[in-house]
């Protein structure tokens, strides 16, 4: 760079040898990156995805019998705490809403309200046959045939009720989905 009245110090001397001029205000490469390039850098999206998927706080929405299986998945035999999943009663701090049980038409408005109260990013897991498509209550006068008539669902877990291992598999599928979504190819 040219000297401007002698006050301009050469950037190369000030910022290090890795400075590439003409590319804007790039800071120099760190020592790590000069010695082991690309060993410790990652896209921030992927880092955020790693953080989000490793601590999914669930708004447990246990409506019916699937709630019992969800509870037993959280307990010590099939532990969900080792995945970072804790149940949180308030929608304002929750990431995932696990709709476990039959969605009655009377409950449709509260479900929509709770979903809209959750901040982004948020995901929904439909657990069990009733939340997937109405389940055994075919053509019932009071049951919504699947919670995806009300809110967008990411993972469907079949079963009546699904075993705890199935719920854990569903949560791991959601974690994979979060990772794959962050690796947006250009």
């Amino acid at each position: 760079m040219s000297d401007n009245d002698g006050q301009f110090i050469s950037e190369a001397k000030f910022l290090g040898e890795g400075y590439r001029s003409g590319l804007g205000n790039n800071p120099a490469d760190s020592v790590f990156n000069r010695v082991l390039p690309n060993a410790l850098t990652a896209k921030s999206d992927e880092l955020f995805a790693l953080a989000r998927k490793s601590s999914l706080w669930t708004l447990s929405f246990g409506l019916a019998c699937c709630a019992i299986e969800m509870i037993s998945t959280h307990m010590s035999h099939h532990d969900l705490d080792r995945f970072g999943v804790v149940t949180w009663p308030s929608p304002r701090q929750a990431d995932v809403m696990i709709v476990a049980g039959t969605v009655v038409k009377k409950m449709a408005d509260p479900i929509k309200l709770l979903y809209e109260q959750m901040p982004e990013p948020k995901w929904v897991i439909a657990m069990g046959a009733c939340a997937t498509n109405g389940g055994p209550y075919y053509k019932s006068y009071s049951v919504v045939m699947g919670v995806d008539h009300l809110i967008p669902v990411d993972v469907y877990i079949p079963g009546c009720p699904p075993r705890p291992e199935a719920l854990m598999h569903g949560i791991m599928q959601l974690q994979e989905k979060i990772t794959m979504d962050s690796k947006k190819l250009p």
């Binding site: 009377k106 449709a108 053509k139 009071s142 919504v144 045939m145």
Partner: protein
């Protein structure tokens, strides 16, 4: 179709046989293994009051209330009460028929508080109006639901998905 009665039911039938002379419109009968009393809908409150407070009967436990839809048979709905006496170990069924055009019957919530939600459910699903009920709001169906799903005339095959 009668089955063998338990000793408590036999004792109940004897006791009731004597006491029901106070209610001339009540008929004592037996269905399967339960003692049944068939009565007029106007006499329900008096009969239930008597059954609860009489010292030899003491039916203080209100087990359930349901409605049977006989609309296509003879245009009636039948209200069925199940009572249990915990001290004497008696079980009793009370049945009374009301017309299905404008079904009304007196409420028994002043006698047994437990009848409150049963009557609300019967009102939701069958349309039976209980006079004297403190709060006949919908219990199971959402506000604005049209029709009575418990009746056989409810269009089952034209359900709306959502």
């Amino acid at each position: 179709m009668t089955q063998q009665l338990s000793e408590f039911s036999i004792a109940l039938r004897e006791t009731l046989g004597k006491k029901l002379s106070l209610f001339p419109s009540s008929i004592l009968g037996q269905e399967l293994d339960m003692i049944m009393v068939r009565t007029n809908p106007f006499d329900i409150v008096n009969l239930c009051d008597f059954l609860k407070n009489d010292t030899e009967l003491m039916f203080t436990y209100f087990a359930s209330l349901t409605v049977v839809d006989y609309e296509q048979v003879d245009k009636t709905l039948e209200v069925v009460y199940h009572l249990i006496s915990l001290t004497k170990r008696y079980k009793l069924t009370i049945k009374s028929s009301i017309s299905s055009d404008n079904p009304t019957i007196n409420s028994v919530t002043n006698i047994w508080r437990a009848a409150d939600w049963f009557e609300r459910e019967a009102h939701d699903l069958f349309g039976v109006f209980f006079e004297g009920h403190p709060n006949l709001k919908p219990l199971l169906l959402y506000e604005g639901f049209e029709g009575y799903p418990g009746r056989k005339s409810f269009p089952f095959h034209e359900y709306k998905e959502w």
